[in-house]
C-alpha cells in the first residue's frame, strides 16, 4: 500500500488501466508533453506514446466528440477537460450524444468513454476556473456523474469509470488534489459506481457532502462530537448520478435530520435533488427541516482573496447549520 494524494491516485488508476488494456487512451489539452496543467497525466506520454496520450487542439466539442468516435471503433478513451468551467462547448456531445448513444440505438451501440474535469473553487481561479458544474449534468439519463473525494476511492473509481460501458463524467475537486494523503491499495481495489459511502456514523444528524465541503464537514463533525457530544453521520454520494438514494435515505431515517452541503451556487444545485428525495421519501422520519448550504447565487468565486473567501461556504457556517439542525 502506497500513500498518495488525490492527484497521484488518479494518475495511478489511469496508468494501471493503460497498462492492462491497450485500448485505453488519454486525450485533451496539454495532457501529453506537459503532463496536464495539474500534472495528473505526467509521465504517461513517455510510457505510452503520443498516440495514446494525445495533445488535442483547444476544442472541447472535438475532445469529447472524438472520444465518442474512438469508442465506436474499439477504444476506451479518457478525455480531459482542462477546467470544468470549459466543458460547455462539449455539452452537446455529452448530453445529446454520449448519454443517448445506447438508448437511442435501442442497445445497438455503447459509448464507453470517461470525461475527467477538475472543478471547484481554487485561490486565484476566479469566475472561470472555479465553477461547480454538476447540476448541468445530473438531469441526463444515460450519463453517469461521479465525484470521489478520497484518494483510494478516486483510484478505484477512475478504473471503474473506464471499464464502465457507459459515458462517465469524472469530477475532481481541484483544491483537494493535494489536500490529504491516504493509503491506497495496490491491487485491484474496486469501488463500483453508484454506491455512496458513510464516512462516519452518528445518530444525531446526517450531513451529505462531497468534494472540498466533505473534508470541512468531516472536520466539523469531529469538533461537534468533541465539543457538544453531537454525533454526525457523514454520507458522501461519490456517484451523484444515478444517485445511491438508499444509503442517503437510510441515514436520514436513522437521524431524522439532514443537511446537504455543496460548493455550488445554492439555487438549482444538485443539493436540491438530494434534499427533495429526503423530503419526499423520508418524510415520516424527519425531525427537522431538510437543510442545505451552498455558495451564494452569484456567478462564481471572485479573484480577490477576500471576496473569494467570503463566497465559500465556511466551516463556521457549516458548524452553525449543523448545530441548528442538531438542536432543532
Amino acid at each position: 500500500m502506497e500513500t498518495m494524494n488525490l492527484l497521484q491516485a488518479i494518475h495511478e488508476g489511469l496508468a494501471e488501466e493503460m497498462r492492462s488494456d491497450e485500448s485505453v487512451m488519454v486525450l485533451g489539452e496539454d495532457v501529453g508533453r506537459a503532463g496536464g496543467v495539474f500534472r495528473v497525466t505526467q509521465g504517461l506520454q513517455e510510457e505510452f506514446g503520443a498516440a495514446r496520450v494525445m495533445d488535442t487542439p483547444l476544442a472541447e466539442s472535438l475532445i469529447v466528440g472524438s472520444a465518442i468516435g474512438l469508442s465506436v471503433n474499439g477504444m476506451r478513451p479518457v478525455a480531459e477537460i482542462q477546467f470544468a468551467d470549459f466543458i460547455p462547448p462539449a455539452f452537446d456531445q455529452i448530453v445529446n450524444e454520449a448519454a443517448k448513444f445506447h438508448y437511442r440505438s435501442n442497445g445497438d451501440w455503447n459509448c464507453p468513454i470517461t470525461i475527467r474535469a477538475p472543478y471547484g473553487v481554487v485561490p486565484g481561479g476566479a469566475l472561470y476556473h472555479s465553477q461547480s458544474i454538476e447540476a448541468w449534468f445530473c438531469n441526463t439519463p444515460g450519463l453517469k456523474v461521479v465525484a470521489p473525494t478520497f484518494p483510494a476511492d478516486a483510484k478505484a473509481m477512475i478504473k471503474s469509470s473506464i471499464r464502465d460501458p457507459n459515458p462517465v463524467l469524472f469530477l475532481e475537486h481541484k483544491r483537494t488534489y493535494r489536500l490529504i494523503k491516504e493509503e491506497v491499495p495496490d491491487e485491484d481495489h474496486e469501488v463500483p459506481l453508484g454506491e455512496a459511502r458513510v464516512h462516519r456514523e452518528g445518530a444525531d444528524i446526517t450531513v451529505v457532502a462531497y468534494g472540498l465541503m466533505l473534508y470541512t464537514a468531516l472536520e466539523v463533525a469531529e469538533k461537534l462530537s468533541e465539543e457538544h457530544g453531537i454525533q454526525t453521520e457523514v454520507v458522501e454520494p461519490r456517484t451523484l448520478y444515478p444517485l445511491d438514494k438508499e444509503t442517503i435515505l437510510d441515514s436520514a431515517k436513522k437521524t431524522g435530520k439532514v443537511l446537504v452541503v455543496s460548493e455550488a451556487n445554492l439555487t438549482g444545485s444538485f443539493s436540491g435533488e438530494i434534499a427533495a428525495i429526503v423530503a419526499h421519501e423520508a418524510f415520516e422520519w424527519l425531525d427537522g427541516p431538510v437543510m442545505r448550504l451552498g455558495a451564494p447565487d452569484v456567478p462564481a468565486a471572485a479573484f480577490a482573496r477576500p471576496m473569494m473567501d467570503y463566497f465559500m461556504p465556511s466551516a463556521k457556517e457549516i458548524e452553525a447549520a449543523m448545530l441548528e439542525l442538531a438542536r432543532y
Binding site: 466539442s61 472535438l62 465518442i68 435501442n106 444515460g142
Partner: protein, 334 residues
C-alpha cells in the same frame, strides 16, 4: 473552382456493368421507398417524412466506395440511398418510418432517418445537425492509432458546415491526416434558408486552408461523385489523409412533411431541378451505353415496386414496442 463532372466513362473508372446496375437499383429503390413514405404520410400513417429525393446520386456514388465491415459510415438523415446500399432493407426503412418495434435504427424511439446498424458499421445518428463530425474524426483516429486501413465516411447537408463541429473535425483531420472522407451534400436549402445566407465563400475551397484537398462535384452525376470519392477513399487508405467533397445537388421535396416550401421558394426552381433528376440522368447514360433498355428498366421498376409494397405492408402490420419499453436500456450493462 471548377465543378468536377464525369471525366470518363465507367470502364475508365473500373466499374463494370454489374456495378452500374447495383448503383442504379439502389438509387431507384431509395426514391421509391421515399415516395411511398409520403403516401403513408398523406394516409395519416406516417407522422413524419424526411426525403432523399434528388440526392440519390451523391449518396450512392460516394457510399459505393465503402468496404462493408471495414469502413464506418456516419450518415445524415437524408442518406437512405447509402443505408440501403449497405444492406438496410426497404422493410427496415418503413419499420423505422412508422416507429415499429422492429425498427433496426432505434426500436421506434427515434424519428425516421436516424440510422444505426452496428452490424453494418452505420453509426447511430441523431438530430443535432453537424454533431457527427468530431465523432467521425475520432473513429478515423482509432484506425490511425492502430495502423489499420479502414476509412470513415461522414455526411451532412451544407448547413452542417455552419456549426463549429464541422470545423473542429476538419482541423483535427488535417492535423493527423485522418482517413476520413467528408461528404457535404449541398442541396441549396437548409429548411427555408438559402445557401447564400448559410455559406460564405465556398465549402469545397475551405479544405485547402486545412491542408488537404477539397472538390466540388456535380452531385447529380453518380459517376462523377463515385470518381472523386474513389480518389478520396484511395488517399485515405494510403494514409494520405482526409478529403472534402462538396456535392452540388438539390432538395426536390419540402424539407420534411412538416414543412411548406411555398413560403420560401418558387415552383419553377424545383421544376428546373427536376429536369436534372439524377436517376433519369443515370438511366440515360445506361441506355446510351446499352447497359439498360426500356423493358429492363420497367422490369426493375416493377420489381422495386413490388418490393416496396411488400415492405410497406409488412411495416404497417408490424407491432409497436410495448409502451413500457420506453423505460428500458438507458444504461448498458457491463
Amino acid at each position: 473552382m471548377a465543378i468536377r463532372e464525369t471525366s470518363a466513362g465507367h470502364e475508365a473508372l473500373g466499374l463494370d456493368e454489374d456495378d452500374l446496375r447495383r448503383m442504379h437499383y439502389h438509387m431507384l429503390l431509395a426514391r421509391r421507398v421515399d415516395e411511398r413514405s409520403w403516401i403513408l404520410n398523406r394516409q395519416g400513417k406516417a407522422a413524419f417524412v424526411i426525403s432523399c429525393q434528388g440526392q440519390e446520386a451523391a449518396q450512392v456514388g460516394a457510399a459505393y466506395n465503402l468496404l462493408p465491415g471495414n469502413d464506418f459510415l456516419y450518415p445524415y438523415y437524408r442518406d437512405s440511398g447509402m443505408t440501403l446500399l449497405l444492406g438496410q432493407t426497404p422493410r427496415d426503412q418503413f419499420l423505422s418510418l412508422l416507429g415499429k418495434k422492429e425498427d433496426p435504427n432505434s426500436g421506434g424511439r427515434q424519428m425516421p432517418g436516424h440510422y444505426s446498424s452496428r452490424r453494418l458499421n452505420i453509426v447511430t445518428s441523431s438530430a443535432p445537425v453537424g454533431i457527427q463530425y468530431p465523432q467521425a474524426a475520432g473513429t478515423a483516429l482509432a484506425y490511425r492509432i492502430r495502423g489499420e486501413d479502414g476509412v470513415v465516411l461522414v455526411c451532412g447537408g451544407e448547413a452542417s458546415t455552419s456549426g463549429g463541429d464541422w470545423h473542429e473535425a476538419m482541423n483535427f483531420a488535417g492535423i493527423h491526416d485522418l482517413p476520413l472522407v467528408f461528404l457535404v451534400e449541398n442541396n441549396v436549402y437548409a429548411i427555408s434558408v438559402h445557401a447564400e445566407f448559410q455559406v460564405a465563400g465556398s465549402i469545397a475551397k475551405r479544405a485547402e486552408g486545412y491542408g488537404f484537398p477539397g472538390h466540388e462535384v456535380d452531385g447529380n452525376d453518380v459517376l462523377a461523385v463515385y470518381e472523386v470519392a474513389r480518389d478520396a477513399f484511395g488517399r485515405a487508405r494510403a494514409g494520405e489523409g482526409p478529403t472534402l467533397i462538396e456535392a452540388k445537388t438539390y432538395r426536390i421535396t419540402a424539407h420534411s412533411s412538416d414543412d411548406d416550401d411555398r413560403r420560401y421558394r418558387e415552383r419553377e426552381e424545383i421544376e428546373e431541378w427536376r429536369q436534372k433528376d439524377p436517376i433519369v440522368r443515370f438511366e440515360k447514360y445506361l441506355m446510351e451505353n446499352d447497359i439498360l433498355d426500356e423493358s429492363e428498366r420497367d422490369e426493375i421498376s416493377e420489381r422495386i415496386k413490388a418490393e416496396v409494397a411488400e415492405a410497406s405492408k409488412y411495416a404497417e402490420d408490424a407491432s409497436f414496442a410495448d409502451p413500457e419499453d420506453v423505460l428500458s436500456g438507458v444504461y448498458a450493462e457491463a
